[in-house]
């Protein structure tokens, strides 16, 4: 997937992930060349600043990378993590056009595993490797499902709280309305009596 980014324009993506999940993000940048009317393959000196925030909006990664970069982080709390990229250079204005194309790929969970590496390290046969991959996949699904259960519980609590509040506020408002009405009547009655109109 690629996208176009302007100079110092911040592009943010949100990833909702369970805890203890590894996320690998890879990007590649290309600069628009007005002369050739296409994107240049490599742009030295152009860097991207990557900033990752956890669900409590605390910054867990804030680093500068080159024109091609790879960043990794592991989530410690489940929730919405925000991944932001922006180019740091102001030199782009010198290059005609000032458009930057960013290829981005974000892999979460078991997709981050490098199976050829694992096979070589643990000396697995092909069968063992495939089974290992399946096990990782199932583990990831299970983790996601647990997280889903936790979110659904939070959702249910919010719903029930809203329901309760609607009921409670309606009753309170009706009571206040009645009390105010009674007070008004009493006050006006005593007022008119005082003014000898009744």
């Amino acid at each position: 997937m690629n996208m176009t980014a302007g100079e110092t324009e911040k592009k943010c993506f949100i990833e909702e992930i369970p805890d203890e999940t590894m996320v690998i993000g890879k990007y590649r940048t290309q600069l628009w060349d007005k002369q050739s009317g296409s994107f240049l393959p490599a742009t030295p000196g152009l860097g991207m600043h990557v900033e990752i925030k956890d669900p409590d909006t605390k910054i867990i990664l804030s680093r500068q990378y080159g024109s091609d970069g790879r960043f990794t982080f592991t989530s410690h709390t489940p929730g919405e993590h925000q991944i932001c990229l922006h180019s740091n250079s102001t030199k782009m204005a010198l290059f005609a056009g000032g458009k930057l194309r960013v290829h981005l790929d974000i892999q979460v969970g078991e997709h981050t595993n490098n199976y050829p590496e694992i096979a070589a390290k643990d000396k697995l046969t092909e069968l063992q490797l495939r089974v290992r991959q399946l096990l990782d996949q199932v583990e990831q699904i299970q983790k996601e499902q647990n997280y889903q259960r936790y979110r659904e519980e939070r959702f249910r609590m919010t719903s029930e709280s809203t329901n309760q509040r609607v009921l409670w506020w309606s009753i309170t408002q009706t009571l206040i309305l009645i009390i105010t009405g009674i007070w008004q009547m009493k006050h006006l009655k005593s007022f008119f009596e005082a003014k000898k109109l009744v």
Partner: protein
């Protein structure tokens, strides 16, 4: 490197999803599905591109998770600039495109909204994007002897089957996550709305009753003054 591998490497490099040099350790598997969630500010249009090969298929599924009316404009353009699909103010949608060579562009448009930001989730599912290198890669790096070749084939088939189904499970899970996130956002905004308007209602009621009493009293006091 064998010539076949070198050729595959050269081809892989042209993919935006697999730019890394085909070094022994650095080759990474092609992501067939990828999903992204982004915040689309009010009055903005965001466009994304996906490079495709011919005779592959691109499926794009999107949902609006948060933000006022939960709707967004969506459009997808072929590499030649032709408009393929256009959705106006939809809350979610799915489109499949049989692709040709080139960059497909798809855009999310929130320009009709002046105040509210939209949280948009979209998923790209690529099919038939050339998976030949996959077994090639794996066979390179495994050690050990696989005896009973015939039986192994069957086991491999079953495993591939299971893997495909698990991938589908993951896709469905991602979808469910998006639905749940959207429902949760709706509920949370309901909650805040109920709180806010209840307090406003209360304050208005009390104020109005006070004002009424004061007005009626003032009416009579004036008359009294006129009489005397």
């Amino acid at each position: 490197m064998t010539p076949v591998r070198r050729f595959l490497c050269a081809w892989l490099v042209s993919f935006p999803l697999a730019w890394d040099s085909c070094g022994v350790q650095a080759a990474f598997s092609q992501a067939m599905d990828s999903d992204f969630t982004l915040n689309l500010p009010a009055g903005r249009k965001e466009c994304f591109y996906q490079t495709m090969k011919r005779d592959a298929s691109l499926e794009i599924e999107y949902q609006v998770l948060d933000g006022a009316g939960l709707d967004v404009d969506f459009s997808i353009f072929s590499p030649s600039g032709q408009l393929l699909f256009n959705d106006q103010r939809k809350s979610d949608g799915v489109h499949t495109v049989e692709t040709e060579d080139g960059d497909y562009m798809f855009c999310f448009d929130n320009t009709f909204s002046t105040v509210s930001d939209k949280l948009v989730f979209f998923e790209l599912i690529l099919d038939n994007m050339d998976t030949d290198e996959d077994p090639e890669n794996w066979k390179e790096y495994v050690h050990g002897i696989d005896t009973l070749d015939m039986k192994l084939e069957d086991i491999m088939d079953t495993i591939n089957n299971v893997k495909a189904r698990l991938s589908k499970s993951v896709q469905i899970q991602t979808l469910l996550r998006a639905f749940e996130a959207r429902d949760r956002n709706i509920q949370e905004s309901n909650f805040e709305r109920v709180n806010f308007w209840s307090v406003v209602n209360l304050v208005v009621m009390v104020m109005v009753s006070g004002v009424q009493v004061y007005l009626v009293r003032s009416l009579f006091e004036d008359k009294k003054k006129i009489r005397t």
